[in-house]
Subunit: 485 residues, 4 copies
């Protein structure tokens, strides 16, 4: 079997159903391997879209890994943004890149480049396979690193002749796992956490990205049922609780944090989104649940940390709470519930404005009104997404997608391609800004070619809205003439 | 003055007339600096276009440096392909990238990333400036490295607060050179070269990329006038000789090389385009003219090498030829001229075909018929560019642009933006493949917003043509169903 | 307080008792901080020794972190071998390196170098602190990464002026943990492991490095008490079981592995020491206990993996065994015990040889006879260490030290310095080869200056013994004349 | 032929006479290749010495390249300091490093490490050869990069099995050049330089490192004969002019610089040794001669730059001076000469002191009295070298060696080994500090084994003298108790 066939078989062994690619000479043998194994090949118009789609695949298919296959040189460089976005969003994915023939290494073959060095700073693992018979081994290594600890992208380069040479299928590779075994905190650590809870009167929880990558929705809900601690979502924490859950709070976040004596960081890191930890009162305690110890105490020390998969951590914690006789924060939660209700009433009036041009709040509320519970909704933009995020209910299935902390514009259609192919039975909606739309708007062609009934709505303010306001403030109207708003 | 103003002044000191950018928060102060200095700000729809345009600016404005300014995170990653393309094409350019505030280094600010490590493998210099008062110094360093030896891109990161802080303009920076001082080979080396020439009977010259970056057209022509050695162009060597020069050969290249007893590599490297040196007869001698010694003897040893700017090398060589009593290869050249004429007659008939759908040769010859001598022509594609390159005359001004050895698809409109702004008096024509068009086709919006009357022609075969043929051969029709042709 | 004082305070907060250094101008302020905090300063004669000593400190003080402080330029480069050795041995340690002033970054100050890039490939984290007030924060970050997952070295660079500038002590930094919270496998995974055990008839365990770094001796012993599975030690697994434990086997390893139907890799990786997994029978099952998932299945897939601190894993596993009704392999273990006894009798006769020059076996057995149960024994060499390792009992305290998988020669005295200072009540013995002794033999000066009564014994064969034999075989006697044996 | 034989042949083709190594299994086949070709193998006691010796070889054998061969893992890491020192001193050298078998890449073979990434930041080129038949090609590439532009070290890794496999000698590799062809500035640039000279009244020249690497002594002297510009030496500029040359000045440097209206930087960079250019008066002009444009204008802009080999630059410059009618600064030079003479008389009295313990000045003057004109003198230390450098005449052959700008302690005996082997007819003297001696003092064993009659003199102040003084000033006597002085 040639290396392309081996690649296809290894991908199959990893449960891959679909690869995203743009037709390229260096990686052509892989296509044949995929066809053999019944792996769908989705060809896009720019490799950035392939990488974004692989990222999204991992998001909407928990436990599976998205795969992009890109040709050497510009194929790989075009994928960089997608890889970087997955890196910052902790999305496990595999990018297989082409390369000139191994026998011509360093000689300057067509599109030869040092791709591995380029990918190293934005991947959990980047390497090259130089022997056909080791292809499956390398694919396993790449995926293993992608899914270990805090997940992220891996990059594997396979030179053209290695893909074309023949080798035997290395028998012992049966299944390539795409989920790491669950690990969790020691019981003693959970007991310390319960002590912290016991001392608290106004606790709050920030539900963040690692809840998503731990696939810990159920265990999170069970813990909240047990304790009634008010929870707020940020980052990929959005969607981890149903939008109509009584445990999910939104409008009262600032006040709750200002008054908190205990903040539970459930997979929420203290980066810019939480003012590097400075918005938490100085004397408040911190209980941090994270997948990897390297994130614990980043920017501010945690009083107790539960490290591991958050599903396990919530389980262990719930057990410890029950073991210690139970705990309830219902009366505090109810106070906040009342405040939430009050705010909601207030907001609904501005959303009804008939002003022309249309107010963002009105637009968003109109969009919100069509969102159904098994839709997948994707936000791609600056201002419009900030607005939408406030109003739009995350569907019951939990799939709200946005780029994540890298804030990459242009993820809309690439994410949608993956979402629609992964879930053909659901509707996929993109909410775009007019700036964002430009970056990968051409991928509508891909949607059409692949018969994917994706709907996009553009909030068009004919400006880079998020830039326009500070520019006005700082530099006056001058800059606006240069179209940079 | 804040750092943005200092940046603008330093760019002005480097003779920068125009920056390419996509509006971004991290780099906003630079816009103000540019406005102050009368530097035009061209905003595009994807940072890849900004980087490609900066690359092209350096190509169409010899001695000047193209500049892209991109915001942190996805702004920088989106520019990677453009930087990589310039890297492989030896195009000097400067990319200034944003970054989160220096005071929050490593804390996870919005779009914070290790951009410098990412850029290092594809730049001649990549670094960060952490003090406002050193901004001009760093811009000088970055440009100095970009233009030294074999030119290429440089990357400078300036964190947001460093751009916003105030400092005094460091007086001694007057002018930042964007051309390295000319250096050239020792006379003794030129004498050895003349000896080689004297022993040759069927010499040929490959005119390549470094002739372009040495700006050595005039000196090349003088040398050819003196010796009448037949010259062929590849890479960026295209355009270095007028298309109607009697010294420029094309159709006879294979035969001339098979028979050559001396090949003069004038800035042509022995990479895949010359079969790593294997298409040169084993016992033929090699005279190599290169800008940097690291390229000398790559893949095959040179018998004599002239290192330095090729303008100087041709000058020194011509002088040595004259000093040794002169040399002429006219009779050999005339034999080849006769063969060229014969081939041209033969080709013209296929170019007249009326077949439907249109033959590529016919399309190209139609396009050729409208190319005028002060046009700038850009090829962006695979098959169509290969076809076009055979037929299309490079305009008198010498500006034929294609991506270069990285073979990046999608450079069309980004290159055209730069070309048209740099030369408002010329017409700019893009010859596209239908695949290529998709990658940055959205930049037509930029052309429209900036009133740039660029014309693009698409050769539409509704396929990735260069892939389709090998796929048919290797994998039969099966792959075609998956739309990968 | 100046940065040196802040550094001293942060080290104190991390429980550091001692730093290893060689007097250097760039890091001088740190010495003052250490004196203030009562941290002992041990100055050596070559920075390599400082790094090796820091590595050894972490090995002989479980839960603590060894620290080396080295000056810029050659101070850092001299430490590279020590860092690389710790990297491959998974030894957590902190190296603080000097640098020229931040204000002169990139200007070419004395001994300025890009130390961080140099250290990156051999550390778990490498970075620079550019603000005096963030020194403690960076020390915490560096240590956090060093102790996370699979432990290893971290490198922190602090420029000279940052150490000299003044800042306030950042109040919230109280204690810097030097042990990561314990994590362990999910119960369900342990149940799968018990199933594997239940199907086995001839299981064996390889006790390796991660048992050491998990500090899991007690839990390991409890598991062996429970099941009586025969255990063999390799790498840093040596010393994890007392030399007279009935569960520790040695001479029967090859046979036990050939017959095994289940191999338990307790922190033993399948690298060259286990023939990349090929010495395990093809149809044998593998149960792997590792600290980090990235090591699981490396070179050969594991049937069941327990990921986390091995103390937790053994606990969970023992519990599961008990929960499932218990398991015993005593009859199989007894068969092996009989074989072990037979071999031992056989070996003891060769150890009594009176041949001159002395046989290695005799030398080693003589050394063995003086090793007492609270000694620390260090092997530094090739042949002699291989011989010693067979005969020498690891003392009861468990401290046998050798370089680990990097096989670094010259660790002897540097390791001994740390061991003797950390445990002034114990005797420290080094077994040297004559080649090894040469690499850092000068550190005897340090031992003398610091009144450390360390004893070294050199096995002198006046040759690089491990090289001599293959050289004879492959190249005959010729090479020997060149002194390379 | 196996790869080791091919390596030996390629080294021979590069004119290598001697390799420095420490016996290691991974690189053993190379020894056989060297024996075949009559290349001397010098085995040392620590790989650091091998690397330093290779550095020194290039310094004392102009146009040749020093080579160290080191085994995988600690062999390579031990060589890091030597490579870094050569890197900063611009010394071309080749380090060939071992690696585990290519077929086991990434599997964790004995001493497997990512050496290439480690070496990249301190080399001009670092790479690995993965095919036996390409060994000679890679050696040529590595050397080519080492000698291009500003020279420096190159690192080539060859895995063990690649060295053991068989291949044919690739015929076309005949001679591997170890000197780059000479390049130099354009005449027009030289004319600008003459204009600068013509406007000056008090010019001075700093003779620095690039004069050495350009091998430009003769051309420098000719230029000084022509113009009588006073010259001062720093860095490796020492020895470029005979110590008794009337053009070489020393004691008047500070004054000459303060009064200079033109400073000629002849291969002297404006790093810490020249206060980053700030010790040159603000309105003084700068004429810079450098080998590579990247160093031009570093830290301060040059008014005119002559780029290329300095031998060529001085030639072109002398020619331009002559062409312009000549220039003479004799009257200014004579004024300085008088000042020099006065200072010398003053210094000689302090050198005669009979104080006990001996004054450094007295020691140095005693040493100076035995230095003969064909000796090679090596300085290895801090204070003592600073003192020695003031008093000791550089021998006529020009060989004064010190580490260079990295200031590496311990280079003494390693440098001496290379110097004595390269020049068996000369005497080699090392002036040591007592601290420095400790770092590689064990290499006396190598000198003895190889019958090299090297003499070392230790200036013993029983302290790290250069640290002692600032420590006293800054921290009082306290630190002294900790032996850190």
């Amino acid at each position: 079997m040639h290396g392309g066939i081996l690649t296809g078989r290894a991908l199959k062994a990893a449960g891959v159903e679909c690869i995203f690619t743009l037709s390229g000479g260096h990686v052509m043998p892989i296509y044949e391997g995929c066809l053999d194994e019944g792996i769908r090949i989705v060809d896009v118009r720019h490799e950035q879209a392939a990488a974004h789609a692989a990222d999204a695949w991992s998001r909407v298919k928990p436990g599976k890994i998205g795969v992009a296959v890109v040709t050497a040189g510009p194929g790989v460089t075009d994928a960089v943004t997608g890889v970087a976005n997955a890196w910052r969003a902790n999305s496990p994915m595999l990018v297989i890149g082409g390369q000139g023939p191994f026998v011509n290494l360093g000689k300057g073959s067509l599109q030869e480049m040092d791709h591995v060095s380029l990918m190293r700073p934005i991947t959990k693992w980047a390497g090259a396979c130089y022997e056909t018979e080791r292809i499956a081994e390398y694919i396993e290594i790449a995926i293993r690193h992608a899914i270990s600890g805090i997940p992220g992208p891996a990059y594997l380069e396979i030179p053209m002749d290695i893909l074309m040479n023949e080798a035997r299928w290395d028998a012992p590779v049966r299944t390539i796992p795409t989920e790491a075994p669950r690990i969790g905190p020691d019981r003693r650590q959970a007991e310390k956490a319960v002590e912290l809870l016991r001392q608290a009167q106004k606790p709050m929880m920030m539900v963040g990205t690692s809840v998503k990558w731990s696939n810990a929705q159920q265990e999170l809900r069970a813990f909240l049922e047990l304790t009634d601690i008010p929870a707020y979502a940020n980052g990929m924490g959005r969607g981890m609780l149903p939008h109509d859950s009584k445990h999910l709070f939104n409008a009262t976040r600032r006040g709750a944090m200002e008054n908190a004596d205990l903040v539970i960081l459930a997979g929420s890191v203290l980066d810019f989104r939480l003012a590097f930890g400075q918005s938490i009162p100085k004397d408040a305690k911190i209980l941090q649940l994270e997948m990897d110890y390297t994130l614990v105490g980043h920017n501010r020390a945690a009083d107790v940390a539960l490290v591991g998969n958050l599903a396990v951590s919530f389980d262990v914690l719930s057990e410890a709470v029950r073991g210690s006789g139970g705990l309830s924060f219902t009366s505090y939660a109810d106070t906040l519930r009342a405040q939430e209700a009050a705010k909601k009433t207030k907001d609904s009036s501005t959303a009804a404005s008939d002003a022309v041009p249309i107010k963002a709040a009105r637009l968003c509320s109109e969009i919100a009104s069509v969102v159904t519970d098994d839709m997948i909704v994707i936000g791609d933009g600056g201002d419009i997404v900030a607005q939408t995020a406030k109003v739009l209910p995350v569907p019951k299935n939990g799939y709200w997608l946005d780029p994540g902390p890298l804030g990459t514009l242009g993820v809309g259609m690439p994410f949608a391609l993956a979402a629609q192919i992964a879930h053909p039975d659901k509707r996929v909606l993109i909410v775009y800004g007019d700036g964002s739309f430009g970056l990968n708007g051409f991928e509508y062609d891909t949607a059409v070619r692949h018969h994917l009934p994706i709907v996009g709505v553009i909030g068009n303010d004919a400006a880079w809205g998020q830039m326009m306001r500070p520019q006005k403030g700082m530099y006056g109207r001058r800059l606006r003439k240069t179209r940079l708003h």
